[in-house]
Symmetry: D3
Subunit: 139 residues, 6 copies
């Protein structure tokens, strides 16, 4: 079993808040990340897939293919966008990096499986100090 990780980057605006709360309540819970005028990040996305390399190829997924899937399914829809208002797979969700990781997992899983590989991990680094990992574990 081999694990392949592809890194991609995107820049987006977001705001952590609940519509049914006042700005004051949002500020209290989410801090400066709830700024009603938005802020943004250079997110770094690491997608790890696993599989058994074919003897005759030396790999189990062509990394160009993996890159293309991530570009088509995620980067095109999220780069230079507003996570809260413009990204289809984040609609109705609080725009935390935790929820973003789960949403990206759900977007990519079927596409990776079509290629005969298994999605292993989504890691998103929001800043150089904060990052999130999700392995598809239900809860």
């Amino acid at each position: 079993m081999i694990y392949v990780t592809r890194r991609e980057r995107f820049s987006a605006a977001h705001r952590m808040y609940r519509e049914d709360w006042t700005d004051e309540k949002n500020l209290e819970v989410f801090g400066k990340c709830s700024n009603p005028n938005w802020h943004g990040h250079n997110y770094v996305l690491f997608v790890t897939v696993k599989g058994n390399p074919a003897k005759e190829l030396g790999f189990f997924i062509n990394i160009s293919k993996l890159k293309q899937i991530i570009k088509d399914r995620i980067i095109e829809k999220i780069d230079h966008k507003n996570l809260n208002t413009e990204v289809s797979f984040m609609q109705g969700k609080i725009a935390t990096t935790e929820n973003l990781a789960i949403a990206i997992w759900n977007e990519l899983k079927p596409e990776i499986e079509k290629e005969g590989a298994t999605l292993h991990r989504i890691r998103i680094s929001e800043t150089e100090n904060n990052s999130i990992e999700y392995y598809g574990e239900e809860y």
Copy 2:
């Protein structure tokens, strides 16, 4: 003459556009950076100051003091904010990193000089691939 560089980071939303242009015209000139719904970045700011170390101290500016000036004058006003609508020193300017570097230069110069040092360079990295430097040269 010694040069001291302090790195600070901030996350902000912005949009590159002119109010007197249509969204189409803005898109044509500024590309995806003109998205009306905002996007954002983890900006990295490098402030370089120069001076002659005092023999009895081994430095010409206390780096804690330099850090404090940058925090008070820049980071507090810009971190987790919207560059276009919330940052006083960017009002009336197109929110390019070029203009941001010049504005930060103008904010910091008098404060640095009060400490007996000279502001040498403002460098801002917007993404890992794009960065801007300004040395205070008039034009």
Copy 3:
């Protein structure tokens, strides 16, 4: 289940040695790291905690809270200090990064659990080439 990693940094002096050994014996076993006049590092600490995000919040631990715990329990006690002589939770231990990771695990575990989360991993990078991970496994 979501994993959240917070990065913090500290600079400290240390020396790897046993008091009951001569300097020669310490040099033989620990190499230049046993220098009796100390040396030091910029340590980078990665604390990973895991939990199930609350639907109504989109997270299971506020990262500001996690940051505060690490600052209070670790960084305040260790930054710009001597690991061998000044850090309470390293007393009586050889100042290896291995022992440091275990000690930090023990310091943080109860605090993380008070927040309803689970400590998953302590990773410490001593230099860009050497790093240590600990998952709390007894031995």
Copy 4:
């Protein structure tokens, strides 16, 4: 149980291709990585070993020893070399990073075990965007 990771670097030329295929077929499957005139990379190798620190030492493997093993067994044979034609442990294999990770695992495993430690993971980063991990799982 403690995990120790040592990072080493090497620069090498390679080409992904099968001798029994035409250049066209190789280009179709392996893309620009099959260039018959070679290309190359700065590979970054992360070797992770695990074990139980001895109470009287605070470590289970001397990192200088680990470094020496990696230098002797891998770096000396691979740095500034051609992966396809000059590296003994890659003979007869397609020069993918996947196969390289498995080959390095096999080279290092017995040496690590002689030291009383267990090889846990080989990670190779080929570019800043692409990396491979192998944990010795048969398939």
Copy 5:
């Protein structure tokens, strides 16, 4: 005057040697970099241009344009190629990073000037420890 730096990356094979020298003589002068079977690197290229931002735009060169010039004139011709045998602008030159920086300067200068900007610096990092800068100074 503002300075804009664009980073691009390419992976290439090369060999430092003179055709009119024996392999032994080449080895003596160029060391392991003269390996007749090639080796390679992940080169990182930083192109810095300078100019005066237009008041009505907030920039003097569209960074997308700068990126396109570098891609068309350099990256397309050099990425996943052999510097010695396949790159037109390196023909007849010893494949040192020094010569590469000068050659890239000469390739880019007229293109940058067509955009009304001035080429300021070419910086190439060959490994994380070695880098070269060229400012167009004749000698």
Copy 6:
């Protein structure tokens, strides 16, 4: 004229203080960096030299030679040492990074000139946020 930069790293303990001051006075001026029990850093040293590449070689200084000079003159004397008490070229000086950069300049200048090259800049990064540059300018 070409500029070559070599990066080297060293880990050292230090303390910023004046012997003729009390610990209280030192603490007031130098802050936590004056801890009497020492602290330390992973310093990163960048040495930049300049010269005119020889046509027949494609370089003006062999980077292996540059590396050797830095190792012999600086790294051997400073790595895993105490800057205040063990490093000959820092004796009688306050152990600031500013003074360290000047001292390293003075150590390296004659050696670089023996190679027919010119020392251009010493840059030392003390932490990821603080760095110092010195160009040999008298004051």
